[in-house]
Amino acid sequence: MKYQDPELRQALAAEYVLGTLQGRARRRFEKLASEDARLRQIISSWEQKLGSLSEGVVPVDVPEHVWASIQKRLGFDLMPKARSGMLSTFWNSLMLWRSLATVATIALMFAAYLNLFAPKLVVNQYIAVLQTEQQQASWLIKSDLQNKRMIVHIVNEQTIPIGKAFELWMIKEGDKPISLGLISPDKQLNLPLSDELLDKIKQANVMAVSIEPAGGSPTGQPTGPVPYTGKVTQL
């Protein structure tokens, strides 16, 4: 077979992705691709094109034992069943958050941990531990009203897609979120706080991080998903 013919390569790659290239021809083509980076690129390009058709299917509920088997195969620690159904809106995720009784406990635990390393007992601090829906802590936000600073500690490094940024918000129940600026997924920040913001932080119930275009929300309000939220606790 003249596997170098560009048209043939395109045609075979397309039918490989579509699934109509079958049997021995399919195996042979896979072997060929494993040794030919250019061919893999052609396949990948077809996978992008045709793969998007899968977005149109109507979802079907999966029995729970499938996830249990996958965890077992991968050697995961047994963890709570993945939550089904996504809380996509900002306010929904806040509602969820309020219902979590563990929040304050975790926040205090972290505060105690940090104070071990702080020689003087700092009072008048507001802290929030930002967590994912799975309650994995990602940032600890400490607002120090005496020194008028906000410190963003990294608890677990997060990953952000290229071209996107994490934006921190504080929310007082019933009011619109107020931006506290962009925060880094992996670097501690120590930022000055204006008197105006200090006032607002005292009244805030919740802090949250949304995913925004690089440079921050274009509207002044969260526009992307809000994967991280945390209750504000006074110390």
Binding site: Q10, A11, A14, E15, V17, L18, G19, T20, Q22, G23, S44, E47, Q48, K49, L50, G51, S52, L53, S54, E55, G56, V57, V58, P59, V60, D61, V62, P63, V66, W67, S69, I70, R73, L74, F76, D77, M79, A82, R83, S84, G85, M86, S88, T132, E133, Q134, Q136, Q158, T159, I160, P161, I162, K164, I211, G224, P225, P227
Partner: protein, 180 residues
Amino acid sequence: MTDQLQLQTLLAASARKDEQAFAKLYSLASANLYAVAMRILKKEAAAQDALQEAFVQIWHRAIDFHSDKGSPMAWMATIVRYRSLDILRKQKRLVNVEDIDLEQMDKELGPLGKLLESDMAQELWICLQELNDKQRNAILMAFYEGLTHDELAERTATALGTIKSWIRRGLQSVKGCLER
């Protein structure tokens, strides 16, 4: 509708072996991906096997995903389709291809809005509209149901050579259209 950006973030975290992120990814994507496997395999046990194989692979290959490889859902669905096709070819097809109801399939695919999640899906859909009905249906049946050339010929009562040419030319036109 699942947010592609969130899936992308979760895939990136899974690449760093974040088990919680992977659990979340599973909870968000599995119903869609299971549907992809069910369409091809028609049998729950087989579709569950395919889904399981695929997620094991997604965990190990998450690091290979980049947003320039298309939408995360399309990327994961491709893995599910390949595993499903493997399983399908290993077992004798137990479903009579005559039973596959093309009208029902069109209905399930529903209004365009359902499909138009990513930019690529939108462009592809527009390009598929440029094909004649027979070409488009042959491609969609192969994609969604995993039908072979022979099965497509049988299902549409068309000569094998004609089916092959519909698909080959159809795919060529789609490529040309997408590159315009």
